[in-house]
């Protein structure tokens, strides 16, 4: 049996973090091989090493039996290895043909007619149809995906890496995509598929490698495994007892969401009829792989995204018609996912940032004016709450490290008596101690009658810190059965849609 790819002992460190720890990967030629694992397990990093976009610190690499060392992706492409990343590299202002040949024009002079002929030949072979002179902006997500695959064929890639190729596709388009991948594999190409979705693995792949926390956990032939076993391998076999054991007595409903549907960035239905209830004192964790609709849920509750249908009720009052700022006035608080882009103004001082989002509330505002001394006092309280390390409240936010910015943003959302805390990865970039103190802070406001909705990609964190955990998959919310409400395995399977 001949191997298209053999990776041996690949180690990659980013600062003090080991993203890949002596990972081995063997992929036979002419098959579809899946790489699965949780967020941050190292799947994409491993593929980027294979593609030459990252250089590994240790380890060796063989492509089609020849030892290689890629300094850049250009060298990888020359050796026949190509990758379609999660975020497509299509430039919307260029035509489809220009996108296709970009970077592989084959000489300083463009020969459009010859290029179009070859493009058509490739497309016909794959059963695709393209208007080559149309702007790439007119492509649907599925069309863009197909164009990305043609880009690999144009470069004569024999090993093709696809990172979450179906993330943006409808089920029908995904089916069509796998048909073309199957035919490519039959013709001798080797396909590496990075995915979160177990049904895809079980249905379309021959072999699968499981990564967890930067380590290769196992490699299986798909025929010899099942969804339940894979889910267990992905999230880690041992079931840990939840550390949060305080008796939980929920009070009156704080948030009632019913039949909520929301469109995503690309116009696809990202949230499909989600409904749930959140009671006073309760912390609800939302598990799920990235892009399952958590972002849309979070933003629509905050009033930042329009809903297609459904209703959101906060403490008995409908907020459907309320602006984000009215919802904040009603007690809603956000810990946004991306503190850098969404949570702070980097060039502003800590003082000024202390009021961001709360600027209309007392004591920050007195009528239409800002109370500077109250703001200063609040800023120092916010900084103290989770021990934010800073050199002075008048220094710009950009002088803080990411973790300290996160502490500041989290503490800010918990001040001024919140009723509902919407937290998207509240412990992002924090060490264990910081993580625990932020969750303890959330717990404390909940003890005082608030409720919290926590989105995280780390299932263990949710199981430890939340009263209840539900899973999102493909825009739908799945609640585990009551007797297995904190069962890691059950929720792990709900997350990847293996039920």
């Amino acid at each position: 049996m001949s191997f298209a790819v053999r990776m041996r002992g690949i180690t990659k460190r980013f600062g003090s973090v080991t993203a890949l720890d002596r990972v081995d990967l063997d992929v036979e030629q002419g098959i579809i091989h899946a790489i699965v694992g949780e967020n941050g397990a190292g799947k994409t990093t491993l593929m980027r090493v294979l593609y030459g976009a990252l250089n590994s610190d240790e380890g060796s690499l063989e492509v089609e039996g020849k030892p290689v060392k890629f300094g850049t992706s250009r060298e990888a492409i020359q050796a026949g290895v190509g990758m379609v990343s999660q975020h497509y590299g299509i430039i919307p202002e260029l035509t489809c043909l220009q996108n296709l040949i970009l970077g592989a024009e084959g000489g300083p002079i463009l020969r459009n007619r010859a290029a179009e002929e070859r493009a058509n030949a490739l497309a016909t072979k794959m059963g695709f149809e393209f208007d080559w002179q149309a702007d790439a902006s007119s492509l649907s997500p599925a069309g863009a995906q197909k164009l990305e695959i043609l880009k690999l064929l144009w470069r004569e890639a024999r090993v093709m890496i696809l990172d979450e190729p179906t993330a943006m596709l409808s089920p029908a388009d995904a089916g069509a995509l796998f048909e073309s991948l199957d035919s490519l594999a039959r013709d001798g190409a080797t396909i590496l598929l990075v995915t979160h979705r177990l049904p895809e693995v079980l249905e379309h792949c021959r072999t699968v490698t499981v990564l967890r926390a930067g380590k290769r956990i196992d490699e299986k032939a798909v025929a010899g495994t099942n969804g339940s076993e894979l889910a267990q391998l992905i999230v880690g076999g041992a079931l840990e007892a939840s550390t949060h054991t305080a008796p939980f007595r929920p009070g009156a409903p704080v948030l009632e969401v019913s039949n909520l549907s929301v469109k995503g960035d690309r116009g696809e239905m990202a949230l499909k009829g989600v409904g749930f209830q959140l009671r006073s004192g309760e912390i609800l964790g939302i598990a799920g792989v990235d892009g399952s609709g958590q972002r849309e849920l979070f933003e629509s509750i905050a009033g930042l995204t329009k809903t297609v249908e459904g209703s959101i009720v906060l403490e008995g009052k409908s907020v459907d018609a309320l602006s984000p700022s009215d919802r904040i006035a009603g007690g809603m608080r956000l810990i946004p996912e991306d503190r850098h882009a969404q949570g702070v103004v980097e060039e502003w001082s800590l003082n000024e940032n202390a009021a961001l989002g709360l600027q209309r509330l007392s004591p920050f505002a007195r009528g239409a004016t800002i109370d500077g001394s109250a703001r200063h006092e609040m800023a120092s309280k916010i900084a103290e709450r989770f021990d934010t390390k800073h050199g002075g409240l008048n220094l710009p936010m950009s002088s803080l490290s990411g973790g300290n910015q996160q502490r500041f943003v989290a503490a800010r959302s918990l001040c001024l008596d919140p009723r509902l805390v919407l937290a998207f990865q509240p412990a992002r970039g924090l060490d264990i101690k910081g993580t625990l103190s932020v969750y303890e802070g959330i717990r404390e406001v909940c003890r005082n009658g608030a409720a919290a909705l926590v989105v995280s990609f780390d299932l263990d964190e949710l199981l430890e810190q939340c009263d209840r955990v539900v899973a999102m998959n493909h825009g739908r919310m799945h609640e585990p059965p009551a007797d297995r409400s904190k069962d890691r395995d059950t929720i792990g399977r709900l997350m990847v849609g293996a039920e």
Binding site: I328, V344, V345, E346, E347, Q359
Partner: protein, 331 residues
């Protein structure tokens, strides 16, 4: 880092000296003429302040938009429609009523002129630079057409409106035979101070600057970037219109074809040079006023007036480079 800056300033001075030498003049002598012509006598100073006034108000107009992250290139057009409509109203209603109405109408006209750009930016994400440039052209030719026909004073040969009555004019705070200082300057200074306080002390000012500094974070903070965009452009347009109205009522007395020598465009430099503080628009506009007035003196001396534009260009260039250096060293 500081050496690069010194080198840059020295380079700029060398380019300038070279340019003056090319015009067959002595650089030192030219500098003396420039300073003398703009600051050398009470009359010269008064002239400089007069020149600074529209630059100050227009500079504030550009400045407030910049704080909201908008680049209002359209102040020139807003000034023209403000001046033109003010002149028409002030001629029709002599006396204090005409003064008040003229100012109000000028501001509303400027605001209305900025509104299409504001709405297109806010709700269709059309770039305000493009739309305001286009609106400048419309304003220029529209006012030119009006003053050539419908609102032209038929009793005279100039393409201009009639003069506004003396009773309708803005009063002088200080006036002798040779020196005049109009209350328009005081108005401009008050506006600068008021704007600085408004931005620092009010929730609305805070929200406007939040949108300018980080639009996404502002949205997550419950601020509507759309509303702020419309608000900031409206204030900006109203100030542009006010600058035009003040120009009529304080100094020019009538609207004519070719009314503005490009105050609205120079104001872009005024605001950029001022950086992040409304107070800084005061010295910045004064500097532009000095160079403009001194440039006229240079011209009489045989040095092309354009040389002062070179100076301004270099100043803005250096200011931008300093600011850029700060940004990159933070990162």
């Amino acid at each position: 880092m500081i050496w690069r800056l010194v080198a840059m300033v020295a380079g700029a001075c060398a380019i300038l000296a070279g340019a003056i030498l090319v015009a067959h003049q002595s650089p030192i002598e030219s500098l003396t003429t420039l300073i003398h012509g703009s600051l050398g006598s009470p009359t010269a100073i008064a002239g400089t302040l007069r020149e600074s006034t529209p630059l100050l108000i227009c500079g504030l107009a550009v400045f407030i938009a910049l704080r909201a992250g908008l680049f209002n290139i359209g102040v020139e057009g807003q000034l023209l429609v403000g001046a033109c409509s003010c002149a028409v109203v002030a001629v029709r209603f002599p006396g204090p009523l005409g003064m008040v109405l003229g100012v109000l109408v000028g501001m509303v006209a400027g605001m209305v002129w900025a509104l299409p750009a504001a709405l297109i930016k806010a709700y269709r994400n059309g770039h305000e630079v493009i739309t305001t440039i286009m609106l400048n052209n419309v304003a220029l030719f529209l006012t030119s057409a009006l003053v050539s026909g419908p609102i032209k004073d038929k009793t005279q040969s100039d393409t201009a409106t009639s003069f506004v009555a003396q009773t309708t004019r803005l009063p002088f705070v200080y006036k002798t035979q040779t020196v005049e200082i109009n209350c328009a300057l005081v108005l401009g200074i008050v506006l600068a101070v008021a704007m600085a306080i408004w931005l620092k002390k009010t929730v609305a000012g805070y929200e406007l600057q939040a949108v300018g500094a980080n639009r996404v974070a502002a949205r997550f903070a419950g601020i509507s970037p759309q509303k702020v965009t419309v608000l900031a452009m409206s204030i900006s347009g109203a100030l542009g219109g006010l600058a035009g109205a003040v120009q009529i009522l304080a100094y020019e007395g009538r609207f004519y074809d070719g009314f503005s020598p490009g105050y609205g465009f120079d104001a872009l430099g005024v605001a950029l040079l001022a950086g992040g503080s409304a107070y800084a628009v005061l010295p910045s506009s004064l500097l532009f006023g000095i160079l403009s007035k001194g440039g006229t003196a240079l011209q009489i001396d045989g040095v092309p007036k354009g040389i002062t534009t070179v100076v301004l260009g270099l100043l803005i260039f250096i200011a931008a480079a300093i600011r850029y250096r700060k940004v990159t060293s933070d990162a």
